[in-house]
Amino acid sequence: MKKLVLIGLVCCYSTVTAQNKVSGRITGNKNKPVLGVSVQLKDTYDGATSDSLGNYSFTTEETGEQALEVSSAGYFVILQKIKLDKLPVIQNITLKEQITELKAVVISAGSFEASDKNKGAVLSSIDIVTTPSANGDITSAFKSLPGTQQVGESEGLFVRGGTATETKIYIDGNLVNNFFYSSTPGIATRGRFNPFLFKGTIFSTGGYSALYGQALSSVLILESTDLPEKTQADVSVSVVGIGGGIQHLAKNKKSSWGMSFNHTNLFLAFKVIKQKQDFYKLPTFNEIDANFRMKTKNGGFVKYYGYLSQNSTAFRTNDLDSIVLKNSFGIKNINIYQNLNWKDRIGKGWRINTGVSFSTNKDDIANELQDATNQKVIIGAPAFYTNKNFNLVNTGVFAQARVVLEKKLAGLNAIRFGSDYFFSKEKSTYTTYNGFQFSQEVKDNLFAGFAETDLYITNNVAAKIGGRLEHSAIINKWNVAPRVSLAYKLATNTQASFAYGIFYQNPERRYLPSVASLDYSKATHYIFQFSQQTKDHTFRTEIFYKKYNQLYKTSRNATNQDIIANNMGFGDAKGLEIFWRDKKTIKNVDYWISYSYLDTKRDFLNFPAAIQPSFATNHTAAFVFKRFVLPWKTGFNLSYNFATGRPYYHIAYDNTLGKYAITDQGKTINYNSMSFSINYLPNLGKKDKTTFAVLVLGVTNVLNQNQIFTYNYNSTGSRKEAVTPPGRQFVFIGCFLSFGVDRTQDAINNNL
C-alpha cells in the first residue's frame, strides 16, 4: 500500500515534465511583423519575445487549457486560449494598435501652439520672450508667425485680412476684454500681461474650436502657469521702470500665492531717444497683481488671478489742419481684471473646467487744440476745429461665467460641451468744448452653448466636430456656428489637415447704439494644411479662403458720429502661408522663417466699395534667429520683419451725394525692421547660487530703416502726414534678479 502511494505520486509528478512547443507569428497593422512583443503562458514563467520577423517560440511543461497573453507597448493586450497536449501548437496573433497621443495625428489646421509639453507645438513658451522684435510683448511674438500683419500704428493682431477686433484673447478659458492698454492715436500699445504668467499659448489663425466665439478671424488662448517650483522673490530694474514680486509655495507643495508690483516710467528712455510726439505727461504705469493657485485632490487646479492697473500719458502733435496749432491728447486709464478658475477630474472619466471673470475699465480722454504756447484754443468754425476740444469718458463693466464638461472615451476620443455667459455694460460720456454732454450706454447679455467631439478613428485619422449656439441681446437673434477639423497622417511626422467653420461677431461698441435692426457679422473659413514635424524641423504650409458676410456698414448720424447703418458689408481673404523652423542644420542655431501671401478686399464701415483695407498688405515675411553661446553664458537673438507697402485712403463723406467717397489714396513704402537682443546670464551653471540674474539688451530697428505705417489726412483731405513709430529705435536695458531659486535650469531650457 505504501509503495503504491509512492509510485502513484512519483508517476503523477513525472508526467508534468512532458514538453510542448508553442510558436507562431505576430503581426500588427497591414500584416507587418511586430518586434519585441511579449508572449506569455498566463501565470507561468513560460513565454518568449518576438523577433524582427514577428516569430516567437517556446516550450512549456504545462498542459490542458491555457491562456496565451500577448502584450506590447502601444497595442491592446490579447488573451488567446490554447490547448496544450503532446502536439506542437502554432498560434499566430494579430495585434490591434492603441490610439495614443504619441502616435495619433494632431488636429492642427489653422493653429500655432507655443508649449513645452504638447506634441505639435511650434514654439516653446520661452520663444515668446526671446523673440527680439516682440520686446517681451506676448502678441508681438506672434507677428513673427505667418498670418499676421505688421501693423505698427495700433495694437492687436490683424489676422488674414481681419481687423484687430476680430481676434479675441482668452486667459484660462475666460475672455479678456481689455487685453491691451487703451489705444492712443498713432501709437500701438502693448499687452497688459507679463508673458511669464503663461505656460502655454495657442494662436489660431482660423478654424478654431467651438469652445470659443465672437471672433471672425482668430483667437489667442493663454494658459496660466501652475505652481511655482520654489518660493522666490524677483526684482527688475530697467530703463523703463522697476518691479518686484514674490511667489510663495506652501510647504506641502500643494498651493501657492504671489503678488507683484510694477512701475513703468518712460522718463529715461524718452530723455535719450527722441520721440516724434511731445510727451508733456510721460507715460507712467502702476500695476499690482496677485495670484493664488491650489492643487486639488484629484490633480486639478483652482487658480485666481487679479490685476489692477493705473496709467496715464499726454502728448502733443502738430495739428494737421493748421500750421501753427497743436493737437493735445491725454488719457488716464484704470483697469481691473479678475479671473477665478477651477479645473478638475470629477470621476468616471469626466472633467470639469469652470470659471468666472470680472473686469472694469475706465478711460478718461481729454483732447485739446493748443496754440504755440501750449494754451487751449477754441475755434468756433469750421466744425472740425471746434470738435477738437472734447472730453470722453468710457467706462466698461464685463463679467463672464463659463462651464465646460468633458468626458474621455476609449482611446483619445472625447466629448465636451458647456456654456458661456457674458455680460457687458459700456457707457461713454462725450463732453463738447462748450460743456454739452452726450451720454450713451450699451448693455449686452450674451449666452452661448457649445458641444464638440474628438474622434480618433485610427492613429492616422482624426476629426474634431463641434457647434456653437449664441444669443446676444443687442442683436436679439440666435446664431448657429458649425466647426469641423480633420487630420490625416500621410506618413510618420507628415500630415494633412483641413478646417472649416462659421464664425459670428457682434458690432464694436464704438459704432453703437444703432437704430437699424442688426444681424451678426459672419465669416466662413476654409483652411488646408500640410505639415511635417520632427524634433529638429517644422515645415507647415497652409492655404485658406475666408468669406465675410454681413459686415457692418456705417453712416453719419445727426451729431456727425459714424454709427452702424446696416449689415450689408462683405469681403473675402485668401492666401498662402509657409513656416519653416530648423534647430539642427546649423549647430547651436535655431531659426525660423515665415512667409504670408494675402489677397483681401472688403466693403465695411465707411468704405465706398470693396477695397483692400489699409491694415492689410500682400506679402509679409519674418526671420528669427537664436543662438546661445554656452561658454559666454549669453544668448543672441535677431529678427527681421518685412512687409510690402499697405494701401491708404482718404475717405470723406460727400454731403451733397450723401455718401462716402475716396478722395485720395496711395501705398506706403515697404516695411523693414531688424531687431536684436542679448541675454546674459552671469550665474548660469553655478548650482548653489540662490540668486539668479538675467541682463538684457534689446535694440529695435537696428538699421535705422525708415518705417511708414500709414498716412493721416487733415479734415479736408488736402494734406497728409506719414504715421511713423514715435521713435525710430528703442533701446531696452534691463536687469532681472530672482532670489531663492536657481533659475539656471530655466535659462538652459530656454536658450540651448
Partner: protein, 214 residues
Amino acid sequence: MKKLVVTTMAILFATSIIFAQSEKYTMAIKKNLAAMDSSFKNPADLLKLANNFERIASAEKNQWLPYYYAAYCQVLYGFMEQDKDKVDQIADKATDLIKLADSLAPGNSEISCIKSMIASCYMMVNPMQRWQEYGGESTGNMEAAMQQDPTNPRPYFLKGQTLKYTPEGFGGGCKTATLALQTALDKYAMFKTASDIHPNWGKQQVVLLIKECK
C-alpha cells in the same frame, strides 16, 4: 504507523514542491541575470530579458525583484534606443513596472535608483526642454536612494555617471564625477547583497568610468 508514514511522505512531498517552486524562481532569475552582461551589445536582447523578468513577475506577484529587474532592463533598453520618438513609451513601461515593485517593497533604495534612471531616460529625449522637470526628479530619487540605504553604492554610481556627462560649466565634469565614483567604489567593496539574486550591478561600469576620466 502507516498513517504517520503517509503523512510524513505527504509533508515531505509538499515541501519539496514548494522548494522546487522557489528553486525554480531563483534559478529563473539567476539564468536571466547571467544573460544580462552579454545583452548590452544588443538592445533587442535587453527587451527579451525585460520580457522574461516580467513573465516571472506576473507569475510571482508577491516578489518585487522580477518587477525590479524588468524595469531595469526596460530603462536600459530605453537608454539604448536611437529613435527618440520611441523612448517615452519605453520609459512609460519601465515606470509601470517599477511602480509594481515599489508597491511590494516601499522605500527601497534599489527601487529609487531605477526611478532615478527612468527620470533621466525621459530627460534624454529632449534635455533642453525636460531638464527642469526630469532633472529634479532624477536627482531627488538618487538622493532618496542614498538615504534609504547609505551602504548602497548604486546611487553614487548613478550620481558619478550623471556628473561625468554634465558639462563642466554646469557643475559636472570628470573632476567632480570621480569623487562620486570613488565613493561608489568604496561602497561596492563593503556592500553585501541580501542573496545572490538581489541587485549587485554597477561595479564594472564604475571602474570603467573612473578609467575614462583618468
